[in-house]
Symmetry: C2
Subunit: 251 residues, 2 copies
């Protein structure tokens, strides 16, 4: 990105340590210290945040924040998949994003959530009080930079998905979804990856703007054409990611 400091740890160098250099014990092995927002914080900032943070495990299907609710905490996703969705008054629902570890969960500077965040799989988060984060953002430009970066990434993803929702066929939509999951869950495998779907057919339908039945039919077709292999409904193998990508309409 630009010239801002990325907050590398100085653990290795033997020198006279200050508070800023000491990483709290619980943070050391934490996923969020890698790619997450905590990677731009120094030791004393981590210590401050850590004192107010609480780790929570969330069962699939449990809401983290509800649409229209007041938000009093933000969090880092440490494990699992969180779905962000919007609901219309008559119950129609659309999933507008999926978040994976170590994403930051929450929309800064907005008291009321315009969407629902719900665990799709077993999920672990590290939650902070609203005020603690906002104070830290205000006097840590690097943190705001990091958050800005995530929001730009989410914006790119949202716009990609708008193309999928508006212009792709049911078949292409399902293939696009499988491709999205494949590249997020099994990022290294360029060829022949395998994973468990984090979403039920109903969730997939809500993500793709389709019905359960249509998702099921298209999955069956892709299976019969050997673009994917499916075991036990949830477990998918993609023998050739390029073929899947082609089925998704990305030439």
């Amino acid at each position: 990105m630009n010239g801002l400091r990325i907050g590398e740890t100085m653990d290795e160098k033997p020198h006279f340590a200050t508070d800023d250099d000491v990483i709290p014990q619980v943070c050391r092995a934490c996923e969020a210290r890698h790619g997450g927002i905590c990677s731009v914080l120094n030791g004393s900032q981590l210590a401050v945040l850590n004192k107010q943070s609480s780790k929570r495990t969330i069962d699939p299907g449990t809401e983290v924040v509800g649409q229209g609710e007041n938000v009093n905490s933000y969090s880092n996703i440490l494990r699992g998949v969180v779905k962000l969705s919007k609901m219309m008054a008559d119950g129609r629902q659309q999933i507008v994003g999926l978040q994976f570890a170590p994403d930051f969960l929450g929309r800064p500077f907005s008291r009321e959530s315009s969407l629902t965040a719900e665990a799709a799989t077993a999920t672990e988060i590290c939650a902070f009080p609203r005020a603690a984060i906002e104070r830290m953002i205000a006097d840590t430009p690097g943190l705001e930079h990091k958050l800005y970066g995530q929001s730009l990434k989410e914006l790119d993803e949202a716009r990609d998905w708008m193309l999928t929702l508006g212009r792709k066929t049911a078949r292409e939509k399902v293939a696009s979804f499988l491709h999205l999951i494949a590249t997020h869950i099994d990022p290294e495998a360029d060829d022949g990856c395998t994973f468990d779907l984090p979403l039920s057919r109903a969730d997939i339908a809500d993500f793709l703007g389709l019905t359960i039945e249509t998702v099921s039919r298209q999955m069956t077709k892709l299976r019969k054409e050997k673009v994917i292999l499916v075991e036990n409904n949830r477990h998918v193998t993609v023998p050739d990611i390029d073929r899947l990508n082609e089925a998704a309409g990305n030439d």
Copy 2:
């Protein structure tokens, strides 16, 4: 938002002026100094930027940036409407956002544009070289904060639109579009607003994930039901914005 300085002008106060207080002549009446990113810059910063900036008028249908092109400048929209769109290899297109004055146009920290920006109406922009803005972002936290704010706004809008694309009927989509334009072009009018559509039927179709014919049919229906009045294809009057909002599925 938070406690960051919003960069108010000090023109009025009689005191010993520094360079920072003097607003360049051309910026004084500029829309971007109001809500745009220039509102967080001081006089000397505006002067620096101003020296490298160029105002340009862009005809409808002209590309500002092309999908896949390298980006070497960013700009402020001073007048008009810019459409952001994505195209698939086979020509299917989706408009993924509309930008109005005084929005900032460009995606910081990405060399290559993932979308096309094209003037929808006669548009005026103030363009800056890439490097000038990025340097200024790096040492002006208030500027990055402002840009972050715009990106969060765009993300909210993108997600709202995902619900429209994925879950609304053709009628609701068209009504949603009209509502969006009504609230952006004629923001004060709570009741009985009137405006010119900035987009052709083809563009509206590309924004809504529909065909031209379906857009036209739904416009006709809404006209026959007196939800809207249409003159000369482009000029629309909304007698009751709540009825339009209801037709858009927002109860």
